[in-house]
């Protein structure tokens, strides 16, 4: 039994935008160098230098959603990579080792690599492996983890690396950075980010205009096209459509009875099916912690200082206590009745502390939480029946409250 999924009008535009992004890298480079970049890296500098940025993480998600990640993971495992490693990394490396098996033939060959450890340490090793395979230079952008307050010496260190990064890219590509252009790109980046923030805030409405799979699908441009005009256009259209839904009282899920919060990367391999199982019980995920990671603007003022601050302080680079505070805020702001945490085998920084977070958020808000064990791409680490049983029990418990 399916439920009606209320498709967004902008869905076609999103598809065209993302297709153009991948085609551009494959066929429309016009001599521009290609960089492989992590989702939390200061891409504005690359964009300002006319470098095409592509995202192995987004590619991993895409393979997960198309359910073709497992054969690629197997390629990596055959090369010696443990099946316990991140499935984005295994998917991406599998596509590197055997592009014939990979959707769109894999990502376009890189000229340089940029990895930032503000999301995890895995990207360092993953990008070292890519760099070794292609024999291309890698810049690791080191954003020290923030257990307590943001340290001024850490910000200095990060800002100094931005200067080194500029030098690194100039040397690798023989292109020069125009600072004025960088400021323009940062402005576009901020426009994108603030539109995205607006869209998320609109979901505080009743009935909620979006369900979390909408956020996950529509977050792609905020990651891969941040700092471009096309992303700004797209998010304006999406914002308008979501605002219209709110005005007209159109909800993403018919008969919304429970408002939920999602924590972690989704199960890309059953994105709609998974959330539809909840929707059938009238449960809608009105907010999540993951897509919010891209709603932080670059502060005004000196552009490098601003970029340093924005990239050093992203959510996954901060303590569990900080994440508790953020989740408590979301529970209150979005009037949430429960939260579901994906204990994601692929993502240690996001997942290892979830039990502690769950206890504190539940105690502070009085709202119940559910932890499910799965993997974002690797379907071999997913026990459907076991998860379903827990989901059903959780929704029944919500209904009884």
């Amino acid at each position: 039994m399916g439920i009606r999924y209320r498709k967004l009008r902008t869905a076609g535009e999103l598809q065209r935008l993302m297709r153009a992004h991948y085609l551009e890298g494959q066929y429309l480079r016009f001599g521009r160098p290609v960089a492989w970049v992590t989702s939390g890296a200061p891409v504005e500098i690359l964009r300002a230098m006319g470098i095409l940025a592509v995202y192995p993480e987004n590619y991993g998600a895409l393979c997960g959603a198309r359910r073709c990640a497992v054969p690629l993971c197997r390629q990596s495992e055959a090369a010696g990579y443990s099946p316990d490693l991140c499935s984005y990394a295994r998917t991406s490396l599998g596509a590197v080792f055997d592009p014939r098996q990979a959707p769109m033939g894999g990502l376009p060959r890189p000229n340089l690599l940029l990895a930032c450890n503000n999301i995890c340490g895995t990207v360092i090793k993953w990008y070292e492996a890519i760099g070794e395979h292609y024999g291309v230079p890698l810049f690791v952008f080191d954003a020290p983890f923030i257990h307590d307050e943001v340290q001024p010496h850490a910000l200095d260190y990060v800002e100094q690396q931005l200067r080194e990064l500029v030098h690194f890219v100039e040397t690798a590509t023989h292109r020069r950075l125009r600072w004025q252009r960088l400021e323009e790109v940062v402005r576009l980046s901020n426009d994108t980010v603030s539109l995205w923030g607006e869209i998320r805030t609109l979901c505080q409405a009743r009935p909620p205009p979006l369900n979390v799979p909408d956020l996950f699908v529509n977050m792609a441009p905020i990651v891969v096209l941040r700092g471009t005009r096309s992303a700004v256009h797209f998010y304006k259209h999406l914002r308008d459509e979501v605002a219209q839904r709110v005005r007209e009282g159109v909800g993403a899920v018919p008969e919304e009875r429970h408002r939920l919060l999602w924590d972690n990367i989704p199960l890309w391999h059953r994105l709609y099916r998974f959330y539809n199982d909840f929707a059938q019980h009238g449960a809608c995920f009105v907010v999540d912690t993951y897509t919010g990671a891209w709603s932080q603007a670059v502060p005004a003022g000196d552009v490098l200082g601003g970029l340093a601050f924005a990239y050093a302080t992203v959510m996954l680079n901060r303590s569990l206590q900080y994440r508790v505070e953020e989740m408590v805020k979301l529970v209150l702001e979005y009037n949430v009745d429960g939260f579901v945490m994906h204990n994601n085998r692929s993502c240690k920084p996001y997942s290892l502390g979830q039990y502690a977070i769950k206890r504190q958020v539940a105690a502070r808000t009085g709202v119940p939480g559910l932890v499910i064990e799965a993997d974002m791409c690797d379907t071999r680490s997913f026990a459907l029946e076991a998860v379903n049983t827990r989901v059903e029990a959780f929704v029944e418990m919500l209904a009884a409250r």
């Binding site: 340490g121 569990l320 290892l352 502690a356």
Partner: protein, 389 residues
């Protein structure tokens, strides 16, 4: 102290390090740490005894409420010990930023045990950016301030220099211990090394000195048999080394964080102490969670393995350890190019001793055949191993 008694003290400490620590060292204040990037000299200069927190054997139950199953045994087993109050003697714990797991563990411990004093040291991940050292020095000062505040101590440059000299002495002695392979058995050597991370350095140094002097000229159990190089993370239980010895093999070198990565490279005793500590952290053989633009880790390891004359490499890979699991692929290819044999052993909470014995035996035999060692000699090794059982 006679050799036997000194050795026995180390063996006892390594087999049960934490339960009776305070009784054994009354009046001493201990601080726990996990990682070789921990600035031990700074802790020592505060008047604390750094005690390394290791996995050791034992079931994991309480920790399952705090950490998921896909988390390394080091994190789960130490969390179990923390929850079961075995670490109650510690004045605090220092977490150094290395991998994603250690990063989370610091916060998990803070949340699980609010009365525990948790210190963090966000060491740089990239070792050779222009500002890596300046950042590292500033971060050391931040840690020093926190320690001074909590322990009412003022860490003088002189005290810090004294601590640096003591730990350098330990590094020299451990280096000597691992360099002169004929004088002590591999198992004893590893127990002595681990003991140095558990007992006060002032106690360990003279004990080690005396043992090395007493052992001079004495031939340990063997000098033949296939030679292996160990590569991996924490070797907290000498059982694997003992098994290798029982099967007639010899450990001729290592890249472990309870081995050479602990005692490799001295701190400059003349330079400004904070700068000197940072310099060593950036210059020593890196852990795979660190990045250097010149790929220092592989270059140095390749050289060290060649120089050791090892016939084979044993990778000790803790299950769910991402940095080492990624590194394994690169290093395995490197060992292949060096033309050496290799064996991967995945370690977890418990060590399956008998299965391990079979695999090690097959590997060591393979190494013998590969290098054309005669069957007779191998048989002899087997007999000797039988005797010592």
């Amino acid at each position: 102290m006679p050799k036997a008694a000194a050795l026995q003290e180390c063996l006892d400490l390594v087999s049960a390090p934490y339960r009776d620590w305070q009784a054994q060292y009354p009046g001493r204040r201990a601080i726990g740490y996990f990682c070789t990037y921990a600035p031990l000299e700074l802790l020592h200069a505060t008047g604390l005894v750094p005690v390394r927190l290791m996995q050791s054997a034992g079931p994991v139950a309480l920790a399952n409420a705090h950490l998921p199953s896909f988390c390394c045994a080091l994190a789960r087993a130490t969390t179990e010990r923390m929850l079961s109050e075995e670490f109650a003697f510690l004045q605090g714990v220092l977490f150094v930023h290395t991998c994603d797991t250690m990063q989370c563990l610091a916060d998990v411990w803070r949340m699980a045990s609010p009365q525990l004093r948790v210190y963090t040291f966000s060491a740089p991940t990239v070792l050779d950016h222009a500002e890596s050292k300046a950042y590292c020095v500033a971060e050391l000062h931040r840690l020093a301030c926190a320690l001074e505040r909590d322990y009412g101590a003022s860490i003088s440059s002189e005290a810090l220099r004294d601590s640096i000299r003591l730990y350098n002495e330990q590094r020299r002695l451990l280096s000597e211990l691992h360099g002169q392979r004929r004088q002590l058995s591999d198992t004893d050597r590893w127990s002595l090394t681990l003991a140095g991370m558990l007992m006060p350095v002032e106690d360990h140094n003279p004990l080690l000195r005396a043992l090395l002097d007493a052992a001079a000229g004495v031939l340990a159990d063997r000098d033949d048999g296939p030679s292996v190089y160990l590569v991996g993370a924490v070797l907290d239980d000498p059982a694997i080394v003992q098994l290798i010895a029982e099967l007639g093999g010899r450990v001729v070198g290592d890249d472990l964080c309870t081995g050479r990565r602990y005692f490799d490279v001295l701190v400059d005793e003349e330079a400004e102490p904070y700068a000197a500590l940072a310099e060593r952290a950036l210059q020593r053989q890196p852990c795979p969670s660190k990045h250097s633009q010149r790929d220092e880790r592989r270059l140095r390891l390749s050289r060290a393995i060649r120089d050791s004359g090892a016939q084979g490499v044993i990778f000790l890979l803790p299950k769910f350890c991402e940095p080492h699991a990624f590194d394994y692929v690169t290093l395995s290819n490197m060992v292949e190019k060096l033309g050496l044999g290799q064996l991967l052993i995945e370690t977890d909470v418990t060590l399956p001793r008998e299965a391990l014995r079979t695999r090690l035996q097959a590997f060591l035999e393979m190494l013998c055949q590969k290098d054309g060692v005669s069957g007779e000699r191998r048989q002899l090794s087997g007999l000797r191993a039988g005797k010592s059982d």
